[in-house]
Amino acid sequence: MTGLIPLLMLVVFAIISLIFDLFSLRKWAKLSGYTGLVASAIFIFLLWDKRAVYLNGLLNLDAKGIYASLLIVVFTFMVFLLSDGYDVRIGILEGEFYVLFLLAAAGAIVMVTSEHLLVIFTGMEILSIASYALAGLRRDELSNEASVKYAILGVVSSVFFVLGMALYFSQAGSLAIDSKVIANPSPVLISAGVMLFAGLMFKASLVPFHIWTPDVYQGSPSPVAGFFSVVTKIGAFIALLRISGFLVNPALRAMIIGSIVLTVIYGNFVALKQTDIKRLMAYSSISHAGYMAMALLLGEMGGWVLLFYLTVYGFMNIGAFSVISSLMENNSIDDYRELSKTSSPLAAGMAFFMISLAGFPPTGGFLAKFFLFSEVGSAGYWWLVVLAVFTSLLSVYYYLRVVVYMYMKKGEVKTKFAYYSAALLAMFASVLFVLELGIFPRTLIYFLRIFV
């Protein structure tokens, strides 16, 4: 039971929030959402000393799981800050907005704290179903399209995963992930591995399972897109890490390497031509997924680099989306023209996140890439590192293009907007964290290396 408390906190406060919403107590509903997150974070901290396997092996609260859960709660909290004010402006008045976030976060936590396929699947479904609803909340055509597209393709990915589970069960006689069974190179198990990977690669938006990403990001409300780009990725990648034992098999390894190569090339090249900031962020998230997937090749060793990358990436993306949310739905990059004049804090923040996403020192984005690429290189994949490095040169171009529009292109100012203290708060916090992770990452790195 103990291991479930952080989850229960999220679910209980989600229900309380729904009850408040029933009586149209919007403020209270929102407050209850915040409380749920804080309470959950506190219990995650408390669980640190009780790292163990719970519920007969269904929940595995190891260091990875706990750290990832904490990330999920923190980023969901920041997404709440982005939504504060945005929701009213854009006309999302339902209290479910916050409830759905809480449930999705709960699903993601389930995903990262289990080594049992059925539980991972359950978590993935909780996360997904809440996500489908979230994507459609803006209720215009784009948003509806996003929701439906996400749901249909999401179900396909679930089918893959379930099929993988079935095949796995036929060989292992259990759904618990067992490294000895995984290492067995029987054709059925290889197929099981392919299916399981495909299901999760969809959530991580790795090529060729990335098709939904740009449309869903573009259509969803901006804070929701931020949530997808961060929390969903954390869930998917930790789950992928847990089944990365499959990669001892050369066929599966070749498959994931092929997917990485395609992802980093495709994501970065297509991003070059984007004119919509959210589509740009979608392709950027695809390319970052490609980089992060490289950590899977390292097996258990990859845990700490992956978690470090996810941490930095999360703050960078939430930060960028805080600016995007503050501009409401003015999403053409052309809308960012002269932003440095009309709203210099937002422009400076956005420029900072773009520079960090492009991987310039002394930001966290650089260190994340530094550790990831150097580990992958020393595992022998030097050619992959060279490819990754060259594709990130492309990313410099498209990230800096946003900066060019904000600072260097003269012209008519198109966007008028107000900004919200809460989103700005998330932005400043992200700036601080990204800088902190870029300049003084020592504590976190030691922590991750020792425990993960």
Binding site: F360, F366, S378, Y397, M408, R442
Partner: protein
């Protein structure tokens, strides 16, 4: 002390963020006094420096990220001179922006100060990781300086500049990963790297990776195409620092990292590098000939002059090596001054087209005087600084190869021609535009910018020993490491 010099500009820049942008005077005066203060502090280092010791001095070592990624700074003779060149040019760059920059002063001075921290950091870093951080971080302020305050085609120029530089440095980054993994205890300390034993075939790859990064920065032909655009579009201060300091980083990178860490790799590329350096000298000069824009002409002259610097460093004789380093300082001064003067002319006439200018010596006698002495310094008139550097490089090259020296000398003759021709077209002849007769001559601020530079021309030309003695031991030491890698193994750890 070194850390203070490096990071004071950064702290001032952070402070600026919290000050409202209306206080324009404050930013100007604040930046000027900060940069002067930093310059004075670096003079103190110059005085305290012990020229008999070839190893880094004023060393500071702090645990930072761990795993060999430590914070280690220090300065040997070569670093020290480049450090002082940077701190010397900074106040001039700030002063030259005084009236030239009329919008977003706050951001402008923040970027200048950030740039100073980046540039100084590159020269004093003693850990490869730290070096790379400064090397890359410095791109960002330069990107904004060109992109926001530059000329017509600034966006094109600045993006090209960043992408070109990144292209080189990313391959270097892969090289750094490799070195980090193979070096014992993951040390990236320069003097530990010098003693690494790397197989020749790997050295060739790594030298190519590092060499490309530095060759783009120098820039050596054919990697120079970003430079004319960046130089022409950048605001005056940007051009001054680009020519005066940023280009030196390429040469510095070669002599500090690429050559001594991968001596075998260097040997494999040696003939090509010499050829590239000579081509740069002649090609830069030839291109300078046909330019119509005075600033572009100076930019191409930079390519040519840096060819001389690189020839001196590559040819591996002590005289040429010392001369190459000395020539870096000279080039920083005289090309920096050329950009300042062209900038001053532009501020008055709003054109840099030499066809439209002409006869400016009549309304602007003082400016003409400064221009001619700068031109003479740049073409290496005996008695001025340029002569010493070029002379040393040529004697050294002559010792090694007469053919190379002959070709390189050709470029020098050309440089005399095109620079004097530029002077003639701008300053002499008929005044093309009647309005130009009313132009105001240099004011006190502008004269004060130029006077210290001219003093240094004479000082460095007449008494070069004063400067050379500071770095000759270090130069000799670096050269020995490059020639015979085993020496480093004996002395290893001495620099701690």
């Amino acid at each position: 002390m070194i850390s203070a010099i490096v990071f004071v500009p950064l702290f001032v820049a952070i402070l600026y963020v919290f000050i409202p942008g209306e206080n324009k005077k404050f930013f100007k005066i604040g930046s000027l006094s900060t940069t002067i203060l930093v310059f004075l502090a670096s003079l103190w280092l110059f005085v305290k420096f012990n020229p008999a010791n070839p190893l880094p001095q004023f060393v500071e070592l702090k645990k930072w990220i761990g795993f060999g990624l430590n914070y280690r700074v220090g300065a040997d003779g070569i670093s020290l001179m480049l450090l002082i060149l940077t701190t010397f040019l900074m106040p001039l760059a700030v002063a030259s922006s005084w009236n030239y920059i009329k919008e977003r002063e706050k951001e402008y001075y923040i970027m200048l100060l950030l740039l100073e921290t980046g540039m100084l950091g590159v020269f004093v870093a003693q850990n490869l990781f730290l070096f790379y951080i400064f090397w890359e971080a410095m791109l960002i302020p330069m990107y904004f300086l060109i992109g926001i305050w530059g000329g017509e085609k600034r966006v094109y120029a600045t993006v090209k500049f960043v992408l070109y530089t990144m292209l080189g440095s990313l391959l270097m980054l892969v090289g750094i990963f490799y070195l980090w993994k193979i070096s014992p205890e993951h040390s990236l300390y320069f003097y530990d790297l010098y003693s690494l034993e790397i197989s020749p075939s790997v050295q060739i790859l790594l030298f190519a990776a590092f060499g490309l990064a530095f060759a783009i920065k120098v820039p050596l032909f054919p990697f120079h195409t970003w430079l004319p655009d960046a130089h022409t579009e950048a605001p005056t201060a940007g051009s001054v620092l680009l020519a005066g300091v940023l280009l030196k980083m390429g040469g510095y990178g070669f002599l500090r990292l690429a050559m001594p860490i991968f001596p075998e790799g260097f040997r494999a590329f040696f003939p090509y590098l010499i050829v590239l350096a000579v081509i740069s000298i002649i090609y830069g000069a030839a291109m300078a000939f046909v330019q119509k824009d005075a600033k572009r002409l100076v930019a191409y002259s930079s390519v040519s002059h840096l060819g001389v610097v690189m020839l001196g460093i590559f040819i591996l004789t002590l005289k040429a090596y010392t001369g190459g380093i000395y020539q870096m300082l000279n080039h920083g001064l005289s090309t920096g001054a050329l950009f300042l003067l062209v900038g001053m002319i532009y501020e008055r006439t709003h054109t840099r087209e030499m066809e439209k200018l002409g006869g400016l010596a009549r309304p602007l006698p003082v400016l003409a005087g400064f221009l001619i002495i700068t031109v003479l310094s740049s073409i290496g008139l005996p008695g001025l600084n340029g002569f010493i550097g070029e002379f040393l490089v040529f004697i050294g090259t002559f010792e090694a190869s007469k053919t190379v020296a002959a070709f390189a000398a050709l470029g020098i003759i050309l440089s005399a021609v095109y620079l004097l021709w530029m002077y003639q077209r701008v300053m002499q002849g008929k005044v093309k535009n009647a309005d130009y007769m009313k132009l105001p001559d240099m004011n006190l601020r502008e004269i004060l910018i130029m006077v210290p530079i001219v003093i240094l021309y004479l000082w460095m030309g007449l008494y070069p020993k004063f400067f050379i003695s500071k770095f000759e031991k270090s130069a000799k030491f670096m050269l020995e490491i490059t020639n015979k890698p085993q020496i480093a193994r004996v002395i290893q750890g001495g620099g701690k």
